[in-house]
Structures are given as structure tokens and as C-alpha cells.
């Protein structure tokens, strides 16, 4: 029996094989969205826990990686809903000096306060520069919705920065 079929039927060994095969991929996707290595590790485990629980709904003819990324995106968005901190952890990804310390700080603060769904799209589309199609598939929305959210995020960010007296 194929690996994916065995997984869908609840075979733990098949799940372990898939976990080891895809944990790095899922982690890399989540860390892009939440920008925090430690949180991304926990969220990767949470994503695979959800994947295991919903194994019966998985269609073995589908691509596992795409499905895992979709689940991972939901987990990351749920995390972003509760996490309103500044997004860049300086120790991991320091801001470039030319941003200016005050402007950069203001942008990070304003970005961290964006609604989770806008923040997720803005992170993937504007910062990570992932293709719209990939983002749409991962978040389960249309490409038009990705473009709209990216635009709304940028506009909201600009408005908030202006209120903070910052003109980027």
C-alpha cells in the first residue's frame, strides 16, 4: 500500500515517515510567516498534530506537501491572531541599517499590529516575495484576495505610520 494511503488509514509509521520528510519544509514555511524560530518549532509540531488528527479527511491522490502547507498556514495565522509583538526578532533577522532606527522600529510596531490575515499575506507577499499563486494555495484564498489583502495591509500600514508621525 502506498505511503499516503497508509497514513490516511492511521498508520503511525507512515505518519513518522511523512513527518521526517516534511518537517523541514513545514518549519521553513511557518518561520517565514511568524518570524520566530522557537515559535515556529512549536507550531510545526502543532501543524503535524492537526494533520494527524484530520488524516481520515486526507485524499491520498493529493499532494501531501501542499496539504501540509495549508494546515501550517492556518496554524501560523491562529498564532498571529494571539501574537501582537513586533515581528522582527533582531537576534535572528536584524533590520538593515539604512532603514533608520526610528523609522524601522515604527514600521515593525505598526506591522505587528496589523490584523493577522493581512499580516500573513503582507509577510509572504511583500517581505518574502512569494508568488501570489503559492500564497493563495497555502491560505486557501483566491489570487485576487491575496492582492487585495496585500494592498489593504500596505495602506493600513501607511495610515498607521502617518498617525505615528512617521513618513516612510
Amino acid at each position: 500500500m502506498e505511503l499516503l494511503e497508509r497514513f490516511a488509514r492511521g498508520d503511525v509509521e507512515a505518519f513518522e515517515t511523512l513527518f521526517r520528510q516534511y518537517q523541514g519544509y513545514v518549519f521553513a514555511w511557518i518561520v517565514r510567516m511568524v518570524r520566530d524560530r522557537a515559535a515556529a518549532e512549536d507550531l510545526t509540531v502543532e501543524a503535524f498534530w492537526r494533520i494527524w488528527r484530520s488524516r481520515a479527511r486526507f485524499d491520498p491522490d493529493r499532494e501531501f506537501g501542499a496539504w501540509a502547507r495549508r494546515v501550517a498556514s492556518n496554524v501560523a495565522v491562529d498564532y498571529l491572531k494571539t501574537d501582537r509583538r513586533e515581528v522582527a526578532l533582531e537576534r535572528d533577522w536584524p533590520a538593515r541599517a539604512e532603514a533608520g532606527p526610528e523609522v524601522g522600529q515604527a514600521i515593525r510596531e505598526a506591522f505587528g499590529r496589523l490584523p493577522a490575515r493581512l499580516r500573513a499575506v503582507a509577510t509572504l507577499a511583500l517581505i518574502e516575495e512569494r508568488p501570489y499563486g503559492e500564497i493563495a494555495e497555502a491560505l486557501g484564498i483566491s489570487m485576487a484576495a491575496v492582492k487585495t489583502r496585500a494592498f489593504r495591509a500596505a495602506r493600513l500600514l501607511r495610515t498607521r505610520l502617518e498617525k505615528m508621525g512617521v513618513r516612510p
Binding site: E16, Q23, A28, R35, E46, A88, R108, F111, P168
Partner: protein
Amino acid sequence: MSGDELRRALPPVGDVELQRDLWPAMLRRREERRVRPTWLDWALAGVAMVWLAVFPEAIGVLLYQL
């Protein structure tokens, strides 16, 4: 706000490699989430036992309902 300005303040993370195997953490998560009876489950079971001891004729009704 342009993407360039945003990326200067928030540099892309890019491809980040996982530095440890998370399978042991996954196993711990499965163990933690395994369904365990709560104190309420035990209390209800106790009440049911007492009830059946006081009204043994209810056993038939209970079995019929199951």
C-alpha cells in the same frame, strides 16, 4: 508604503533550516493529547454506580438505552 521600505525594516527570513528533529516533540504532543478521563468522568461513573446499587432494576433500563 513600498515593499522595499518594508523589507529594509523587516528583512526577509528566506529559507531557514530546521536545526533539530521534532519527532520526539510530536510523540510527546500525542501522549499529552491522548484522551484521559477527567475528574468529572470519574464522578459521573461513581454516581451511576451508586444509582445502580440503590435501584438495581434500573440496570435493564440502562442496558436498553445503550
